[in-house]
């Protein structure tokens, strides 16, 4: 009896919480998604991926203005491809991964621009600082999977990433490239 009442309670909670959220909150498929940052040092563009991130997209195609998305990115998972540089970029001067293990992007609202393209508004929080971003997004649905992809430029200095000694070597503008895959709605 006791087990049954717990089950009923869980079911009830599900009923209560479902209308509060949106109908189609979908966790991202990390194996088919990618988030990377491209920085430029002495004119050389270097693109490196974040290996660990999670998140969800809550989007009813009929009501894009109410779209929500949330991503958490593990700053210590940034992989330049070399142990020395990976260790460097986790230091307090850069990501300060010990103190700020996660970066997050919270999108609230999606504005259609051209067919298949949107502009997402959201807040990027990194190293204790939050910046408003407008992100161009292209959506594509194929084989039961919807991917949202795009590139957005940010200022690393706005997040106090990289000490002043690096300013002549590493450019301020960093390009974030993303490809977020979620199960298609319906």
């Amino acid at each position: 009896m006791r087990f049954r009442s717990i089950a009923a309670l869980v079911a009830l909670m599900g009923l209560v919480s479902a209308p509060a959220g949106f109908a189609a909150e979908r966790a991202i498929d990390a194996t088919k998604s990618s988030i990377s940052a491209e920085f430029t040092q002495i004119g050389v563009p270097v693109n490196a991926p974040f290996k660990k991130f999670s998140g969800s997209v809550d989007l009813d195609p009929a009501k894009s203005a109410e779209a929500r998305a949330h991503f958490d990115i593990d700053t210590a998972s940034f992989d330049i491809g070399d142990d020395d540089y990976n260790a460097e970029v986790r230091k307090p001067e850069w990501f300060d991964s010990a103190k700020f293990p996660k970066a997050s992007f919270v999108a609230s609202g999606l504005k259609p621009t051209t067919p298949g393209n949107f502009e997402a508004s959201g807040k990027l929080s990194l190293k204790g600082k939050t910046v408003e971003l407008k992100v161009p997004v292209t959506a594509k649905t194929e084989a039961g999977l919807t991917t949202y992809s795009g590139t957005v430029s940010i200022s690393r200095k706005a997040f106090a990433i990289g000490g002043a000694g690096w300013d002549d070597t590493v450019e301020d503008t960093v390009k974030i490239r993303f490809r977020i895959a979620v199960p298609a709605v319906g």
């Binding site: 002495i42 004119g43 050389v44 563009p45 490196a48 491809g81 020395d84 000694g165 070597t169 590493v170």
Partner: protein, 179 residues
């Protein structure tokens, strides 16, 4: 010694310019790899790559010049084995000034760092291979190994030139010196 026995002025200029860049690039290469991550380290890597690409271009010009302007014949009175050794050393050095910069360029591409000549974005060279960590490890070994081979051959080359100059006292070295 007649004027015909000398190397042409462009050949002499190319020889010494490449020599300077090869020695400089080698020294910078040895030094930079041991540095801790810093803006200076990246600057040394940039200089190393720029000098390597310069050597590659100069090597192509030099080979073109060599093919269109025959070099003076070896001075008479040398044993056959020395002529052969000189011939193959020169051939190997020509090959290495092409292959070493190319191996460095390949290594840079495989490591995910495009080569941007002189830091000018319009002079970004194409990636020869896609980013691949395993391949980068192999190319690093090859690049280093080729460089030590070059260092050994340059040592032989310099010793032979000095032997001609100081022991044989013939004009072999003089005809490669600027006048």
């Amino acid at each position: 010694m007649s004027a015909d026995d000398r190397y042409t002025r462009p050949a002499i200029a190319l020889h010494w310019l490449i020599a300077l860049m090869v020695v400089g690039g080698f020294a910078v290469g040895l030094y930079m790899t041991g540095l801790k991550v810093s803006p200076e380290k990246l600057q040394f890597y940039a200089w190393h790559k720029w000098s390597g690409i310069t050597v590659l271009v100069l090597a192509l010009v030099r080979i073109g010049w060599h093919l269109s302007h025959p070099v003076p014949a070896p001075l008479p009175g040398q044993p056959l084995w020395q002529l052969r050794a000189a011939h193959y050393t020169h051939l190997a050095l020509y090959g290495l000034i092409l292959v070493i910069p190319l191996s460095g360029w390949l290594y840079s591409s495989a490591s995910g760092y495009p080569v941007v000549y002189l830091g000018i974005k319009a002079l970004r060279l194409p990636d020869l291979v896609a980013k691949n960590k395993e391949l980068a490890t192999v190319l690093k070994e090859i690049h280093e190994w080729l460089n030590w081979t070059m260092a050994a051959l340059v040592t032989v080359h310099v010793c032979a030139a000095l032997k001609h100059h100081l022991i044989d006292r013939d004009g072999t070295l003089r005809r490669m010196l600027p006048r």
